[in-house]
Each structure stands twice: as structure tokens, then as C-alpha cells.
Symmetry: C2
């Protein structure tokens, strides 16, 4: 745990000893954000794969320290709180993913007679790395600071949407340098990552430019940059491979680095501004010029904090200090992405590698298997304008690929995970009436994305067999369950648009999950193409990402995935009691086969909060008339699997999804079916939470007598009237008002238990 108060007092301390360091107090909800949450496991546990660096909401730039040599699954953000050295500050990062990628434009200040940039200088034990200490490291939204101990340099970072701003305070009597390394990536050796071409150009003694073209997890990315220094470069070296190009103004190659020397004999503060663009150096220059006009680091940092407060104050909460830290850090993490991919002039690299142009903002980083569940529903509530841009950005991929994103990075599909969960996101946006979403275009895209086969989506197999036979399509049970849900979403929009034939087709497909339900074992199980159950079957056995019927989970965890027809799942299970019993078993059976998928973590019995398939399951007791058990487990997850330490998440934070679960759950409700317009009520955790709906309208959730023990709903009112439903409509939330809960230590086994109180399938 790294409480915010410690950070602030540390900052005050530093301001006394570090020349040039000035503590800028943060006010508003941003003050409760601790960017170190989720950045490093404690005692070998799990973290969130988050980064602590400086960024603004939904920005293109994430300027953050890279501590890893080569990230493994646990440190894809480049930073691990357990690491002891920093390679430098690169301008792009992913938050919470399981694959390491980006890390563009590494900048590192150093001192000393010589800085080595030959060999593999970003690796530990060589080159320009520096030790650092968490005692001399701070972070807040839009700002990061660290003392580079090997060089006695205080490094501070802030950012705008398209630019990074660095402030390096060098010690007196030092020889000051800045290293740029375009060969730096923490993804080497994976995904055939390779620099295709790169360049550093010295424009004048205050300005450098360049680019790199790189292939990796994203098939081809172009990152152009324009950098300005506020002090003159007095000497520099440009390097490709091990060749030093002395006196050159430019160097090209696939292993390009540079060292810039500054006259820091008396010590000084160097400011470095860096704009980036996926289109051109000229656009990088424009991006920087538009966003950072002055050499005023503190103003840019203040602006970044203000941007964060503008977004974070969309939910105003009362609660404990710890609740506020967890809640606002979670909300912060949900707003880190999707990431801007267009320049200030609207240009971007389209999904077919042509140059696109948008009037709005073009976004990418769509980790949809994760984020369709709660992050995107949260955006439809808090980010309506951006949601339209998200939809339009995904439609760009549809126009190019013929189908919508599965997992899209820098405009390119990587087919990570399964399903086509852009479909619920788009259908939800239409159903909720998000302005700027063109319904017919969305319908064409979701329909074709459900008919045009692509990796893990062989639709001809789907329609031929009515399920995925494992011997034809691996991950067959998980895909069957998730595809049925996506089909239900298509059917709902078809129905709304009066496309009866399509509705019937997709509604029929949405029921295919039944074909893998084994009523003998009461599990969803794999079949072969002849319709035979594949044996032996062990519901505790894990699959990963292929070669097994289940995806990053087991049959227990996938059992609950019929979000569009939970009453039918209750019925298949054997009715209310059997369903509750099975849920009870799920949350208590600790049996394992000895192996598990690395993504499964944060266990409560078989429930694994560290990965997404479990995320809606605590809320399912409501469908069988025992909402107090939902309240119990929702509270348990919030209280036990989220905290304020660097290990504050129970698994990959996954581009906002783990955080969005918390935000909804703390408010007291969760979108079990994210395209239904229905939230299912759990255990509200905050004294008061006011969602700002625009034009001064709010929807407020209040609790009376809430505490870590008072987790059970005793009664509720909506706008003063008694409320016994265990769910609430999105439209009720949008209408504004007050939802008040009276909480208590003991379950109220009467509240919300009527059949009419059970969540319905859809409000649309």
C-alpha cells in the first residue's frame, strides 16, 4: 500500500532538497488517484500490469518509466514496482494488458563523462540504466517524478494528448546528457518484433525529429516524433548498431540511438517537449505546437491534472480515504484508454494502412473481450461523446477488414482472445441512443462481423453444427457461449430495425449454447463434430488460448455465461435451489487439478476475479431470489481483492475492465448483460455517489449505515419510493434522482426476493 498522504508529504520533503522540484498540490478527485496501484505484485502475488507514468484521459502519449528488461506476462506495462532500475521514459504504454507492446521513443537523462549506447544499452547492467528508489518517486494523474540515483538527476514527466513534457534537474558539476533510443522495446523476442526502419534527425541545437516503423504484436506501427529542448545541445552522437556517426545531422537504420550533451557544469533544469504522431513528423510537430505552447512544465502538469479532474468528477463520491483512493484510481484506469490514434488535424493511419481523416477523434486500443463487460457500459454512462467516436473508430476496421475488432491495437487486429465483443458495445451504444452513432452502419457491421469468418470465428461451422465442435474449432465451449451472446445482441438490433428474418436467424443462433449443455453433469461441455461428448471431462481443468475447450478458465468459470437468458440457465441448472446451490459450490469449492491458467487468479473457491469470465457471477444470486448472497460476494470481492497497494488488483487490470467492475460494484450495480440496459444490484459501498449526467442533472446513490460489515441491503428507495427490484434500468439512471439503500450487518432475506424483483433479460 502506498497511501496518497505519504506521496504528498514525500513531495513536500523533496521540494526542500531537490533543486527545481516543486510540489504542485493536486485538488479534486485526482488527489485520490494513486498511479502506483496495480504496478507490482507483493510477495509474488499479482498486480494489474499498470504503469505509473504521466498521461491524460484517452491520450496517445503515456510517458512512463520502463524498468523491465523483457516483460513477461506480469509486467506488460514496462514498469514493475519490484524492480530496482529504470531504463528510461518511453512515450507509449498499455495499461493492464497481458502482452507487452508499444514503448516508443525512449528518452533518458544521464550524467558522467561517457554514456554508452552501444550494445543493448537498455538492458540491466549495461548502458544508461539508473537505480531508483520508491522513497524518491512520486506520481499523480498527469505527473510522474523519480530521482535517478546513478546520476543524481530529478526527472519529472507530464503529458498532453499527443505530447510528453520532461523536466530534468541535473546536479551541479555534472556533464549532462539525454539519451534517445529508438531500438528500445520490451517486446523483443516475441511476436517477431522488429524495427523496420528508424531515424533521428538533428534539426537545430534545440530540436530533433525522427520516426520508427516497427512490426510486432501490432503488425505495423509508424511513430513519428518532434522533440524540443529549452537549452542548446552542445554536442551529440548519433548511433546505428555500433557505428557512431559523429557530426551527422541524421542517422537512419534499425538500431538507432543518440546521446545529446548539455552544458550542465553549473547544474540546471532541462525541459524536453516531445510530440508524437502515427502519420508524419509534420503532424508530430503540429501536435506539440497545438498542445504545449510555453516552456511551462508546471502549467502543463496542472492542465493534465485539470483534465483528469474534469473526467473524474463525473462521479462525485463520499467514502473513506481508502475507498476514494481505490475508486478514483479505478476510474482513472478506466479512462486511460481507448487511446487517441488521430492527430490534432484529424489524420490517422487507417486499418488498411492508408491515411485516414476524421472530424472527431480516432481511437484504438480495444481490448474488447475484457472491456465490453463493464468498461464500455461505463463509457456509455460517463463518456457519451467519446463512445460515438469509439464506435466510429471500430467501424473503420469493419470497412477495412470486413469485420469489427476483436482486439485492436493501433488500428490493427491481433485476434487476441475470442468472441466478437465489439458487437455488444455497438448494440449497447445504439440501444442507449448515444448521439453520433449511425444505426444502419452499425447494423451492417455487426451483421457482417457475425457472418464473415475469421480466426476463432468460423461461422460456417457455427451454423452447420449449432455449436463449435472442439476437433474443428478449439476453445469450443467458451466460443460457443460467447458467440451465442454476441448473436443475441445482433438479434436485438435486428428486431429494433424490423429485420425479422435476421432477427430469427440470430435469435436461433443465440440459443446454441444449449447444444453444449450436458444435463447429466450439468456443465457446458465440449462435443466433437459428430455430437459426442468429449471425454474425459474435468470441470476443474483449465484451458488457456487454444488446444482446450475453455479459454483462460475452466468449466466451472464458464458455466455462468448465458448473460442474455439467465432465467433459462437457472432452469437448465434445475431451478432456483439447484442454481443457488451450484453458485454456493462455485464460491466454495477450492479443489484444483494442480494446474491453472496464469490469468486465473483472485480466487474465491472456483471464482477467479483476476480474469473476466467470472466478473458477472457474484451478481447471479439475484436471478434465483437470494440477492443477499450477491451482496455478500460482491462486497467480499471489493473488500478483499482490491486495495491501495502496488498489488491492488487481483490480476491483469485489462485496459480498465477490472477497474470498471469496481466502479460499478461500489456504486451498487453491475451490467451482467452489458447490452441489456439493465444493471443488477449488488452491495453499494459508498456513503454517497453522484453521477453527473450533464446539464446539472445527477443520479445519486446513497447508503445509510454502510461499513465493511454493513454490506447487506435492508431496504431501498428510488426517488423516495420503496424499491425492491434487484436491478435498475439504465434509463432510470439517466433520468436522474436518488437511489438510497439502508444497509445492515445481517442479510435481509426478504428484500428483492420476489419473482418480480428478479432482473429481466433486457429493458430495450
Amino acid at each position: 500500500m502506498k497511501p496518497i498522504v505519504k506521496i504528498i508529504s514525500l513531495g513536500t520533503l523533496l521540494s526542500a532538497v531537490v533543486p527545481g522540484y516543486s510540489q504542485r498540490p493536486v485538488t479534486g478527485p485526482a488527489a485520490f488517484v494513486n498511479p502506483f496501484i496495480g504496478t507490482g505484485a507483493v510477495n509474488g502475488g499479482l498486480s494489474g500490469n499498470n504503469y505509473p507514468g504521466a498521461t491524460v484521459p484517452f491520450g496517445m502519449v503515456q510517458l512512463s518509466p520502463d524498468t523491465r528488461e523483457a516483460p513477461d506476462w506480469g509486467t506488460a506495462s514496462g514498469y514493475d514496482y519490484n524492480d530496482k532500475t529504470i531504463a528510461g521514459f518511453s512515450h507509449t504504454h498499455l495499461s493492464g494488458t497481458g502482452v507487452a507492446e508499444l514503448f516508443d521513443l525512449l528518452v533518458m537523462p544521464t550524467t558522467g563523462a561517457v554514456t554508452t549506447v552501444a550494445g543493448e544499452p537498455d538492458k540491466p547492467g549495461s548502458g544508461y540504466r539508473s537505480a531508483f528508489s520508491h522513497q524518491q518517486e512520486t506520481a499523480r494523474p498527469g505527473y510522474y517524478q523519480v530521482k535517478l540515483l546513478d546520476y543524481d538527476i530529478n526527472a519529472e514527466l507530464t503529458a498532453t494528448t499527443h505530447a510528453g513534457f520532461h523536466r530534468y534537474t541535473y546536479p551541479r558539476n555534472s556533464k549532462g546528457h539525454v539519451v534517445i533510443d529508438l531500438n528500445h522495446s520490451l517486446n523483443k523476442g516475441s511476436w517477431s518484433t522488429r524495427i523496420i526502419q528508424s531515424q533521428i534527425r538533428v534539426v537545430n541545437n534545440h530540436t530533433i525529429e525522427g520516426f520508427r516503423i516497427i512490426t510486432g504484436w501490432a503488425k505495423m506501427r509508424k511513430v513519428y516524433f518532434h522533440i524540443q529542448f529549452n537549452k542548446p545541445v552542445v554536442r551529440y552522437q548519433l548511433v546505428n548498431d555500433n557505428t557512431v556517426y559523429t557530426g551527422n545531422k541524421v542517422v537512419n537504420g534499425s538500431n538507432v540511438r543518440a546521446v545529446f550533451d548539455f552544458d550542465t557544469q553549473q547544474g540546471f533544469t532541462l525541459l524536453v517537449k516531445a510530440g508524437i504522431s502515427p502519420v508524419s513528423v509534420e503532424n508530430a510537430r503540429q501536435n506539440l505546437a497545438q498542445e504545449i505552447t510555453a516552456w511551462n512544465f508546471d502549467k502543463t502538469a496542472d492542465d493534465a491534472a485539470a483534465l483528469w479532474n474534469k473526467e473524474l468528477q463525473k462521479i462525485n463520491i463520499d467514502g473513506s480515504e481508502q475507498q476514494k483512493q481505490i475508486f478514483y484510481t479505478a476510474l482513472y484506469h478506466t479512462f486511460l484508454q481507448p487511446n487517441t490514434l488521430s492527430d490534432v488535424n484529424g489524420a490517422y493511419m487507417a486499418s488498411d494502412y492508408t491515411q485516414g481523416k476524421t472530424k472527431g477523434t480516432h481511437y484504438s486500443t480495444f481490448s474488447l473481450w475484457d472491456t465490453y463487460r463493464a468498461a464500455h457500459p461505463l463509457y456509455t454512462l460517463l463518456q457519451q461523446t467519446r463512445t460515438a467516436d469509439f464506435v466510429n473508430s471500430m467501424l473503420n476496421q469493419y470497412r477495412s477488414y470486413g469485420y469489427l475488432p476483436v482486439w485492436q491495437l493501433w488500428g490493427q487486429e491481433n485476434y487476441c482472445m475470442i468472441g466478437n465483443h465489439s458487437i455488444p458495445v455497438l448494440v449497447d451504444a445504439v440501444m442507449k441512443g448515444i448521439p453520433g452513432v449511425e444505426v444502419e452502419k452499425v447494423y451492417e457491421a455487426i451483421k457482417n462481423s457475425s457472418l464473415i469468418s475469421h480466426p476463432n470465428s468460423p461461422f460456417q461451422v457455427w451454423e452447420q453444427y449449432g455449436y463449435m465442435p472442439e476437433n474443428i474449432q478449439s476453445q469450443s465451449v467458451s466460443i460457443t457461449l460467447e458467440m451465442a451472446y454476441d448473436d443475441w445482441c445482433v438479434a436485438q438490433l435486428a428486431k429494433k430495425l424490423g429485420k425479422t428474418e435476421d432477427y430469427n436467424r440470430f435469435q436461433r443462433r443465440s440459443q446454441y449454447y444449449e447444444h453444449l449443455f450436458n444435463s447429466a453433469t450439468r456443465f457446458f461441455q465440449p462435443k466433437d463434430e459428430k455430437g459426442n461428448w468429449i471425454t474425459p471431462f474435468d470441470p476443474y481443468k483449465y484451458g488457456s488460448n487454444g488446444g482446450n475447450p475453455f479459454t483462460e478458465g475452466n468449466a466451472w468459470q464458464y458455466y455462468w455465461y448465458v448473460p442474455h437468458n439467465m432465467p433459462h440457465l437457472v432452469q437448465l441448472t434445475g431451478g432456483d435451489n439447484a442454481f443457488v446451490t451450484k453458485l454456493d459450490s462455485f464460491f466454495t469449492h477450492s479443489h484444483t487439478t494442480g494446474e491453472k491458467n496464469d490469468n486465473a487468479s483472485g480466487f474465491i473457491g472456483q471464482y477467479a476475479h483476476g480474469n473476466e469470465p467470472s466478473h458477472h457471477v457474484t451478481y447471479l444470486y439475484n436471478y434465483a431470489g437470494q440477492p443477499w448472497k450477491t451482496q455478500y460476494y460482491a462486497a467480499k470481492v471489493m473488500n478483499e481483492l482490491y486495495n491501495t497497494s502496488s498489488s491492488g488488483y487481483a490480476g491483469n487490470e485489462d485496459c480498465g475492465e477490472m477497474s470498471a467492475w469496481y466502479v460499478f460494484s461500489a456504486l451498487g450495480f453491475y451490467p451482467v448483460n452489458p447490452a441489456s440496459g439493465i444493471y443488477v444490484i449488488g452491495s453499494p459501498q459508498l456513503k454517497r455517489a453522484a453521477i453527473q449526467l450533464g446539464a446539472g442533472k445527477t443520479f445519486e446513490v446513497r447508503t445509510r449505515k454502510q461499513s465493511d460489515k454493513d454490506i447487506y441491503i435492508q431496504s431501498a428507495t428510488l426517488n423516495g419510493k420503496p424499491y425492491t427490484r434487484t436491478w435498475i434500468k439504465h434509463s432510470d439512471v439517466l433520468a436522474g434522482g436518488v437511489l438510497e439503500f439502508v444497509m445492515g450487518e445481517q442479510p435481509n432475506t426478504n428484500w428483492g426476493t420476489g419473482v418480480a424483483d428478479r432482473p429481466i433479460n433486457s429493458s430495450f
Copy 2:
């Protein structure tokens, strides 16, 4: 040998037996072009690495059959006359290079129940390959035809600048298919070649589109396409890896192929039009729409022939049938590239991977170490408008990389070979007053290209040592000699522009070759960085492309490389007699060390016409007063090392360079120093050759009593006045007129032997 008469009569024969095949007689100089010259070695010798397919002058599309599995050094064009099977027809090829690259958009017609496109279907023994026979194969400028024996399909190809046009005549009672293979490349396993992403999209039953992004020798190429069929597709399969996407309209991936079925039960002729673009599918569509409006294959083929005649008739010759075939095929080969890289709307992918726009045409494929010698000088004579575009295209790389091209492919530098020989090309263009060339921009580019170090051009080493020390920069002797020449070119333009300081600097550098001249051995030899000669030294020992002081040659071959100051080389050698003796030795010493570089071939003693370092050497006797020996050896090379067989070149044809040597030499003069405005006179071979200078003006070279034996100049007149100079100015040629030679069997040891008759260093 494959005489043109045979080709024509074969065509006539085919027209009687192959349904749909119509012989279009070719008139004009194009009738003398035999595209099979240079396509395959005879008896294990060398060929030119040329392709026989259909293309127009300087086009983007080279639609040609690929016969090779994986080209090695000898078959980089994809086609080897010795091969027995054809994989298909891909739309882009290089002519005469030593590295295999391009091969985009393979199209192959097949018949039969099933066409396999799984596995590696373009490889011999699998998939869709077909046997073929030279007995049923024809080619002429802009047209190629072959009978695919496995399928009984007659395939004909023609092209426009940006589009290919296929005519496939299927047999009756066949099931007809067309295969598209976007994974086809004959460069796999080299240069880390990899498909980054590709797509085939079925737009409707007559139209398909797509693209591929590929990394290889060219670091990153984007090739978009738009294909139209004149008959409906009745069925198709789209494939990625081994997954068949039945019923899909689109497939994406890195191993994408497709099979399109046509209802050919009754047999028919299928027309296939394919536009390509390096920018977008939309541009590929525009390119096709602008260039091929009708479904009239013969018209497009006729237009292609007409375009060739328009270019080829720029030199009108009288001579023997064989001379005409060799001459016009050579001229044809010189006009195959540089290749158009911009679309009809002027868009192109710039050297920094942004989207460029030109008002003229943007070109690439600059094999400059080869082509600066004779091909580019020929363009300044025959292709003045294009020369300005070549210059401006090279300047685009300068703006991006900071220096001009060394070897540029698809706008990207690959640093193949040594020197910076875009400099003589640009200086020559300025000195000759080519319209549309901006002098100051050229000067900035050539100066910076001589100061900004890059691979094989470490200018700080150059200026520090006054030569390249072999232990610091390998290929040191070759680079020293060639760099000195490039520096001389910079000096000349500096002088013209009154930049005295620059002139002095580069003039001084142009003399650095002296520092490697060993007066004890009278060879240019390598030194180390301390100035010591590196021993042992063997003038017969070959270097290749690194690790040795000489580049693809030996000290004998590099001895002659002081093109900017031959009188000084004569002096260093010990005067006229010593120089002549050394030349005599060069052409007669057959000693070898047992090894040689593969590029060295076409030997006359140590002289190796198969590679460029020797190319000017036959002309050097003129500098020592014995022009008849130049006449002897120039005639010997023409008569013995060029012929009309598939093995008609003595080595890599090298993007027009081997051909340009022949064109100049047959005319009777050659640009020993390609940026001097001086041609050195050899042994004119043609009865009459009239160079069309525009506006009806011609420069005519006539010979009297020329034959294979009458190779010696007895006397000459220029515009009727006696002419004894062994050189002629470019400006004299441009002025028009008649240069007439009287030839004879015996040397006239008086003509051209006066000191005043010796070539001067420069006419500018």
C-alpha cells in the same frame, strides 16, 4: 539464341491452333526486341537476370511469369529460361538485379476438379504450378504468351504503367479457375522477408480488391490492388494459412490466397484486369480506370507496343538483323526502369513512409552503382523529362534520409554496393541543363550526401585520413576511388555556383585516390589507419561486398578508376607507354588465384565485362594515344559478350547498365566520366544511327565499310569537317549533325593520336 523471326512464326502457328489467340504483328523498332535475351544461362554460363514479361517503359507493373522456387543470385527476375514450370504471373519484377525482390500479386489460371492452395502452393511439385514449353511461349515488348501445359490454358499478358491485363483461354470441357496468391514471393528466407498483413476482398462477382504489406529487401512495401474479371465468378474460396473461409467476402492474414471458379464448361476466354498502387485500393482502382477502359486486350497490347516504339525510335538504326535485335533489346532493357512509384493522381509512399504527392511522376528502382555509368547518361540524352523526375524523386529521399540514394527500391534505401553515385547523376543533369532540375536544391543534396555519414560512407574517416583505412572501413580501396570521383562531381557544381570554399574542399577530397597509390607496385592498395600498406597484397585476389579492400573485383579491375583525371592516372602509371603496357596486360593476363567474385564474369584477361568496374576500361587507350586498341577491345566486347540468346549478357544486366554500355558503344562513344559532358570514341558498329533530339533535329552516326572485321577507325568527319578528336562533347551531339566514320580492317595508328585528340577531363 531465339531469333525474332521464330517468335513471329510461332505466333502465327499458334493462332491456327489455340482458340482465342490472335497474333498481333509488331512493327517499328519494337519488332526487334527479344525479351528472352538475358533470361537464362546457356550451359551453366551467365545470363542477365532479365524477365520476359509484359511491361511498358518505366512502368510500375512488370507482369511476368515466375518459374523459380527461390531465386538465387542468378535468377532474381523470377524467370529462368532453363526452368520447366511456371508458378504464375506476378505483377512486379526487377530487371537484371543480383537480389530477388517484388513478385507482388501472383495470378495463375488453372483447370480441374480441385486446385490446391494449401501448404506452399507456389513451390514446384505442389499446388497450382504448370509445365510449359518454349515451343509454346512468345514475348514482345508489352506482351507475353505461354501455353500452360498442365491445364491446356493459353495465357497472354499485357500491361500499362499501373495495370496488368491477362487473357486466359481455357479449353472446352474444363473447370476453370484463377488462383490469387498474396503470400507468393521468391525472396523468402532472405532479407527477413515476411508478409506483415494482406487481404483479398470479393467486391462483387466481377471484382476483387486487396493489398499486401511486406518487409524484405525493401524495408516496407504496400501493394494495393483492384482486379476485374470480364466473366462472373461462380464460386470461390478464400484461404489464410490452411483455413478455408467458405462464403466469406474477405480474408485477412499473412498467408492469404484465393481460388475463383468460372463456368468454363464450354471453354472461353477470360479477361483479367489488375491495377496496383503503393498507396490505396482506391488509387489502384483509379489507376486501372484511367489506363484500361475497355475489355480490349489487343488494343492494350497494341498501345503497349506503341509506347515502346515511341521510346525505341529515339534512336533509329541501320544494321544487321542481329545488331538490331541486340541494340533494341538493350535499349528496351534500359527503359524498363527507373520504375514509376506514383499513382495516376500523383500520390506515392514517400521515403519516410508518409504519403507524398507529385505533379510529375515519382520514380524508384535506382541501382545507382550500376546505372550512373552509362544508363543515366543515356537518359539525359533520350529521356530529359523523365531525368528531371528521376532527380526530383531522388531528392525526396534526400529530404527524408538526409542523403541521396545509394540503391533505392520502392523509395527506400538498402545501401547495396558503395559510393554515392546519385551525385554524378544529379551533377550531370544540372551541367547538361536538364529542364526542371533545381540547381540549388541539387547542390544542397549532393553536398550533404557527401558530409552526412551513412553505411559505407564514413565521411569523418575520409576527411581525417584522406583515404579509407581498411581496418576502419572495409572495401577501402574501392570506396576511396569511387568516393574521390563523387567528390570531384560535387566540386564541379560548387565551382559552377561560385562556392569557392566548397570547391576547394571537395576538389581536395577528389584527389584522395593518390593516397592509396603504391608507386612501388603501381597498384591502388589498402592501407591501415597508421598509413602502412596492408600485406600481403595480391592484385588478382577478389573482394566481394565487405571484408576485403575491393568490391566485387580485384586490384587489377579497380586500377582504372580515376575517371575524373585520367591524365593523372597515366602519369602515375609511368607515362603513355607504361599505361598502354599496363592496359595490354590487363586485357591479356588470365592468371587467377583460383577464386573470384560471382559478379566478375565476361573475362578478357582481367577485364570482366560482367560487372561494372571494368565498363569504361576499353576506352582508356585513347588517353595514351593508342585509340585503335580501344577500338579493338570495344568491338571485341560488343561482338563476343553480347548475343541474342537467353544468355545474351555476360553477367547481371543490372537495371539497364549492361545494355546502356552496348547502346553507347554501338553508337561509337561512351561516357568514361559520366558527369563530364564528354563521350570517348570507341568502335562504332552500326551502319547508321540517328538519335532523335526533338523538334525534328537528329544527331546521326554513320559508318562506311563497317563489319565484324572492319572495326578500326580510318578517318572521321563531323558535319563534313575532318574530325580527329577521340572524344566528342555532349553539346556537339545535342547540336545535331552527322558524325561519319570510315572504318577498316587494319588499325589507323595515326587517327586520333595527337595529344590534342586525347579526351579532356570535362567540357563543363
